[in-house]
């Protein structure tokens, strides 16, 4: 028995508790969820009826499922543009020498929304969006843009954008914070060298800051995209999927199936699909970003 072998056994021993936890609380539920999606059952009735893959068939014929998928994708795309794209630009601006003195102030201001609980944010924005007494329309009317004073959460065509906008308001500051941390870790010598070579600020940003931050940007995109497909609370609090089913996302659709319509099997099916979608997306992103390799 060599020493390294013995060491690795001890190592396994140390990993074991964590491994058991993950097995019990992550992998077992995933498998159980798959199993549960094969039955028609509800939370208060003991009877279970085996339906096989019926729910999967129904899901792919359910127009609400495609509305939800579309809304989740919309969430992902807009979040990428605002939280990662614009967040990155804001971070770069805040890191600029001219503004750096005020950075702590701006950083705090941008970060504050992300520490407020989502239930509070949802109720707050419900009021702000109110067409009669809300601040949003009040400001628009004062500015003379009355034709833009819409029924934000009450119109099935624009409600989803209103909901997505709240998420941007809430989390862009959080991303800015992460990006600032990554930027501050970039060695200053690179910038000095670029300055001596006479590179412009934009060029410095494109050729030094961005490549150096690759890892953090990747983390940011993974977080936002997965977050966009798991989103539930904002939508639930603000519109609960309405008006009609126009702002339904996969999360609220699952909730509705499970706790309103007493179809736990269908809810499990939706859960499985959410899992597959997020897993695929993060695998793709990791592949593209070749995470773990230094540039």
């Amino acid at each position: 028995m060599t020493k390294t072998f013995r060491n690795s056994r001890t190592a396994i021993l140390f990993i074991l508790p964590a491994l058991l936890f993950i097995l019990f609380f992550v992998f077992l539920p995933i498998v159980l969820n798959l199993y549960n999606s094969l039955f028609r059952w509800n939370s208060f009735d003991a009877g279970r009826v085996f339906v096989g893959l019926e729910y999967y068939g129904r899901l792919f014929k359910d127009p609400i499922f495609f509305t939800a998928l579309k809304n989740n994708s919309l969430y992902a795309v807009i979040s990428l543009v605002f939280q990662v794209g614009i967040g990155l630009i804001i971070a770069a601006v805040l890191e600029d020498k001219l503004i750096r003195r005020f950075q702590p102030f701006f950083r705090t201001v941008f970060f504050i929304p992300s520490v407020i609980s989502i239930a509070v944010v949802g109720l707050l924005w419900q009021l702000l969006y109110n067409p009669e007494v809300g601040l949003v329309n009040g400001v628009l009317k004062t500015l003379g843009q009355s034709e833009w004073a819409l029924s934000w959460l009450g119109d099935s065509k624009i409600a989803i954008y209103a909901v997505v906008a709240v998420s941007q308001w809430q989390y862009t500051g959080y991303m800015v914070m992460l990006f600032l941390l990554a930027m501050q870790k970039i060695p200053f010598e690179y910038y000095e060298a670029a300055m001596i070579d006479g590179a412009s600020k934009i060029k410095t940003f494109l050729y030094i800051t961005l490549p150096q931050m690759k890892e953090m940007i990747l983390v940011g995109t993974v977080i936002t995209v997965i977050g966009a497909f798991k989103v539930f609370d904002e939508v639930y609090v603000m519109t609960n999927g309405g008006p009609g089913r126009s702002t339904e996302v996969l999360g609220t659709m699952l909730y509705r199936a499970a706790f309103r319509n007493d179809e736990m099997g269908y809810a499990s099916t939706i859960g499985t699909i959410i899992f597959v979608v997020t897993l695929t997306l993060s695998l793709i992103q990791l592949k593209i970003g070749k995470s773990g390799q230094e540039v």
Partner: protein
């Protein structure tokens, strides 16, 4: 090697400890010989919760061997949570439920105790209820629930505005439309509606469906086992509702205002008519100080349903079939619905009681007593559409009613979806 096993055991033990620590921290049903009953209701609001606390305290004083644990979950979340709680191990002995299908689905799952023998055993108790309040809690001629409130839906109107245009409370739909038209021409907002939570508009449809569709047809359709929804009355009912909106009788942006906001608008005189439940009458009176009157949904000339029904339903309590102490649970329900506590309910929080004679002009607001009179005289009750049909059918109605009002779906499209889901439900409910 032995040492390694020891370490392994220690790790596993620690893990097991953590796991067991997570579960079952409590489950002692009886504390020092007392029977403990869990009582779940849906009124955590500070204006209502004390009523239940006081009644429970009085009951415990009378029955020192019974202890009651109160829990309260608000109206909207209880619709979801009740289902989850019923599936768990710690089911409350007595819990809130709406009448109609909402309670019947628990009956089908054998989760609700049959209360018929207890009611028959004590006929004085049974006869103390207004009969129409017990009926919606029955399934196959058996009683499963005890009503606490007897709620109805009425249009309230602003007297000042009505007087300004010399209007009378309408009794037929045509008169109703004329009233609305006059108000509209006078530049008033005829009807206030806060439909952010879509039950508000569903309550209109509850009455319209009942008035437009023949009773036996509607009952057959509302039964999950035989629902078809092919009667043209359902489409007509939705058209009438959509027309109220199209002609501009409803206020603007109905889908983004809440019912509570509607109440404030009505109190501020920003609209002439508002559709409310009897339980809200006290609040309306507090705000309007006599400047209001009310009328039931007007009758519709070409409607096939009975025109003397009132929209509304009782709500109350069911007993869990898993309870270990059914006798004590019944004892508490009897206490809760005895005359003294019914009078207390009417006086203290202004709710209409299903106990015959408890809601009278001496105990309650004049209008509340009149409202209960309307319901006693009515031929029957149109129970809330969203709790009287199967949850899945209700869901289709609830989510589509907002689209009906914002004009993006037609009644025909909606009824097709309803028919489809009704068919699906038929095949699932044995």
């Amino acid at each position: 090697m032995r040492r390694k096993i020891n370490v392994l055991l220690a790790v596993l033990l620690a893990f097991a400890l953590v796991l067991t620590g997570c579960s079952s921290s409590s489950s002692s049903g009886e504390e020092s010989g007392k029977v403990v009953l869990k009582f779940l209701h849906k009124w955590p609001q500070p204006e209502y919760a004390p009523y239940f606390e006081e009644v429970v305290k009085a009951f415990e004083k009378e029955n020192p061997d019974i202890k009651i644990k109160i829990e309260a979950i608000a109206d909207e979340p209880i619709k979801d949570k009740l289902r989850v709680i019923l599936g768990g191990n710690e089911v409350p002995d007595i819990m809130f439920s709406w009448s109609g299908e909402f309670a019947r689905k628990f009956v089908r799952a054998d989760a609700a105790l049959d209360l018929t023998p207890y009611l028959n055993e004590d006929t004085a108790w049974k006869d103390s209820f207004i009969p129409a309040s017990l009926q919606p809690f029955t399934s196959n001629e058996k009683n499963y629930g005890i009503p606490l409130r007897f709620n109805g839906k009425f249009f309230v109107y602003n007297k000042k505005i009505f007087d300004k245009y010399q209007l009378q409370a309408p009794t037929t739909w045509d008169e109703f439309i004329q009233v609305l038209d006059t108000l509209k021409k006078g530049g008033e907002t005829p009807i206030i509606l806060g439909n952010q939570s879509p039950w508000a508009a569903i309550h209109y449809l509850t009455g319209l469906n009942q008035k437009m569709v023949a009773q036996d047809v509607r009952m057959k359709d509302y039964n999950p086992k035989s629902g078809e929804f092919t009667d043209p009355g359902y489409v007509k009912a939705m058209e009438m509702l959509a027309d109220l909106n199209k002609k501009g009788y409803f206020m603007k942006n109905v889908n983004s205002s809440s019912h509570d906001m509607g109440q404030q608008l009505f109190a501020a005189g920003k609209g002439a008519i508002f559709y409310v439940e009897l339980e809200e009458f006290q609040t309306i009176e507090n705000n309007m100080k006599g400047n209001w009157g009310f009328f039931p949904m007007p009758s519709i000339a070409d409607g096939k349903g009975s025109q003397s029904f009132i929209t509304g339903a009782p709500d109350g309590f069911i007993v869990s079939s898993k309870t270990k102490h059914p006798k004590e649970a019944i004892k508490f329900l009897k206490f809760l619905t005895n005359k003294d506590n019914a009078l207390k309910l009417v006086k203290q929080i202004g709710w209409p009681s299903p106990i015959d004679g408890a809601t009278n002009p001496d105990t309650a607001l004049k209008e509340v007593a009149e409202g209960v009179d309307y319901m006693k005289k009515a031929e029957g009750m149109a129970e809330w559409l969203d709790t009287d049909v199967h949850a899945k059918v209700a869901d289709v109605y609830l989510s589509n009613i907002q689209l009906l009002l914002d004009g993006s779906k037609s009644p025909e499209e909606i009824i097709k979806e309803v028919q489809k889901v009704a068919k699906q439900v038929q095949s699932e409910v044995e």
